[in-house]
């Protein structure tokens, strides 16, 4: 059973903006998926739908096998306890220490002080920020603050991580570190969905990518990982070239690709403007 499954999902905001149009795809447990596309493509809306912060106007959003539209209000918190949400702006509490920021969600679970201390300490250690436990967020760099935000999500032991532009405020090197961190988590079995428009990152970490533009799912592809090692060696340096998988962002090219899909390796499915899946 897929962990995430969207079928013909539309989302129209009260302002009339059509944020998503007929989007269909599914994600299996243990996958690492990038959501990519330019600003306004619908990446954040898609993540907000998965977090039940928004409801689809039309279509079905299934998470952990449950249709989110049919989910009662009282069930939403229990669903969210299985999701680790990470945002571009970190969303840390400035008046709390790193330890308190990470522990904030554990009180919801009714854990003892000892359990909370143990879990937080272990998570901070795993993310190499244990030495900042008593520091306040303002004393940390952007990358360290994002690690704290990730620790806050991970300490809840989520089955799914939803990261919305988590590297948006970070430089190239720190961005690499963060994605590598997600990669490690994914290797341990956590499903990761990360929204990014950073083409360098997509090139450096060739994973399944859902390409959105103006609310349409343009492409769903698995790039080749043959040069994975080479790419990862080169991530510390500023990439010289624009990765080829990001270039076809203009709609005409994307639509052309839809009708005559390129022979992408490990391609799973392609969703068109009308949301119907087309076999590759």
């Amino acid at each position: 059973m897929p962990l995430v499954s969207l079928h013909q999902v539309h989302k129209r905001y009260p302002t009339g903006t059509e944020a998503l149009s007929g989007v269909s795809f599914s994600i299996e447990p243990g996958e690492f998926v990038f959501l990519s596309g330019p600003s306004g493509a619908g990446k954040s809306t898609l993540l907000r739908l998965l977090l039940h912060m928004e409801i689809a106007t039309k279509g079905d959003v299934l998470l952990f096998g449950r249709n989110l539209a049919a989910l009662s209000r009282s069930s939403v918190p229990y669903l969210r306890r299985n999701i680790g949400a990470i945002f571009q702006d970190f969303r840390l509490l400035p008046d709390r220490t790193v330890f308190e920021n990470v522990a904030v969600g554990l009180h919801i679970l009714g854990l003892s002080r000892k359990e909370i201390k143990q879990r937080v300490t272990n998570t901070l250690y795993d993310l190499s920020i244990d030495r900042y436990a008593q520091a306040f967020p303002s004393m940390l760099s952007g990358g360290e603050q994002q690690r704290v935000a990730i620790a806050r999500a991970l300490v809840m032991h989520p089955a799914l991580i939803l990261a919305d532009e988590p590297t948006g405020n970070l430089d190239w090197e720190l961005s690499n570190d963060i994605v590598r961190l997600f990669d490690d988590l994914n290797a341990k079995g956590t499903t990761v969905i990360m929204a990014t428009h950073d083409r360098f990152l997509l090139n450096a970490f060739p994973r399944r990518t859902l390409l959105l533009n103006k609310g349409f799912l343009i492409e769903d592809f698995q790039p080749s990982q043959t040069n994975d090692d080479e790419t990862e060696e080169g991530v510390d340096e500023e990439p010289k070239e624009v990765p080829p998988i990001i270039q076809p962002l203009d709609m005409t090219a994307a639509l052309r690709n839809l009708h005559t899909p390129p022979p992408l390796p490990k391609q799973q499915k392609i969703a068109g403007i009308d949301g119907e899946e087309v076999s590759s």
Partner: protein, 304 residues
């Protein structure tokens, strides 16, 4: 202990801690809230206590439409029965009741302050068998009572007729005025409490504003509405309880001081009543209700 119970207890303790922390988000405003509640609460208690006094004064005024006819000691029960029938036959008389000497003594004791009664030797309070004649207080006028009094004095069996009260109408009017005053004071105190409720809402809303970001994060991490609201309810209840119980204490002090004055200086036999268990129980219930209501309004307005 079962795991759900332990988990629930930990969550409650956490909410309790967060609720108390909330009191210090805007300490000045919290203190002002508690003081306002104390003032409104004490006004309410004072107005209710004065109402009790007014009611007891009315009761005494009503009692004054009764005439006590003390009988000579040698009057037999047969003669008493005949006398009672004669008096009952009069159109303005509502009822005639025979009092034994002990019953009369008990009534006399009731009219005296308890500390004075306690200090008197046993049996020193007088008692004499008598007839208690009650009139229809709504229709009878003083002239009717005076006429009956004259008639009773002519009877052979009668020893003394307790004179009908003078100025009963004035006392009744005064009691009515006090009762109206009490109603107005109670309405004003209730309105004040209502106004202060929104003051409490304001304090809670300020706490929520300071925690909006945290609550948004907690919601994303899977906090239930109850988890988010619980500290707010605790903060509201603590404020309500502190305020209204302080109000009850203030009222108790004021009433005790006033009673000291009116008993010692004015020589009044009946002090302002203060039912301590009832007042403190009502203050506690009121405090909890104020807290719950204020927290409900605040969370409706501000919960993310």
């Amino acid at each position: 202990m079962s795991k759900p119970f332990v988990t629930g207890a930990r969550r409650f303790l956490h909410a309790l801690g967060e609720g108390f922390k909330g009191l210090f988000v805007a300490p000045g405003q919290t203190l002002a809230c508690i003081l306002s509640l104390a003032i409104a609460g004490s006004l309410l208690v004072l107005s209710l206590s004065f109402a009790d006094l007014a009611v007891s004064m009315l009761d005494r005024t009503t009692r004054n439409t009764e005439v006590l006819v003390y009988l000579k000691e040698q009057v037999t029960s047969k003669e008493i029965m005949v006398l009672m029938d004669r008096i009952k036959g009069r159109p303005d008389v509502l009822a005639v009741k025979y009092l034994t000497a002990d019953q009369d003594r008990a009534l006399n004791e009731e009219l005296l302050p308890q500390d004075i009664v306690a200090s008197m030797p046993q049996g020193s309070i007088p008692g004499q068998h008598a007839l208690n004649i009650a009139f229809d207080s709504g229709t009878v006028d003083l002239q009717v009572i005076e006429d009956l009094s004259k008639f009773l004095k002519t009877l052979e069996e009668v020893d003394i007729v307790a004179e009908p009260p003078v100025g009963a109408a004035r006392v009744q009017a005064l009691a009515t005025v006090i009762q109206y005053g009490q109603v107005i004071a109670a309405i004003l105190a209730a309105l004040l409490l209502g106004g202060i409720l929104f003051f409490v809402v304001g304090t809670l809303a300020r706490t929520m504003d300071s925690r909006l970001e945290e609550m948004a994060i907690l919601k994303l991490l899977g906090a239930t509405d109850l988890h988010l609201k619980a500290p707010l309810y605790i903060q509201g209840i603590v404020q309500g309880l502190l305020g209204l119980i302080a109000g009850a204490v203030v009222a108790k002090v004021i009433i005790a001081a006033t009673n000291g004055y009116i008993v010692a200086t004015l020589g009044l036999m009946r002090p302002i009543p203060f039912n301590q268990p009832l007042v403190f129980t009502l203050a506690a219930i009121g405090g909890v209700l104020v807290g719950i209501l204020a927290a409900s309004i605040a969370s409706l307005r501000r919960l993310p």
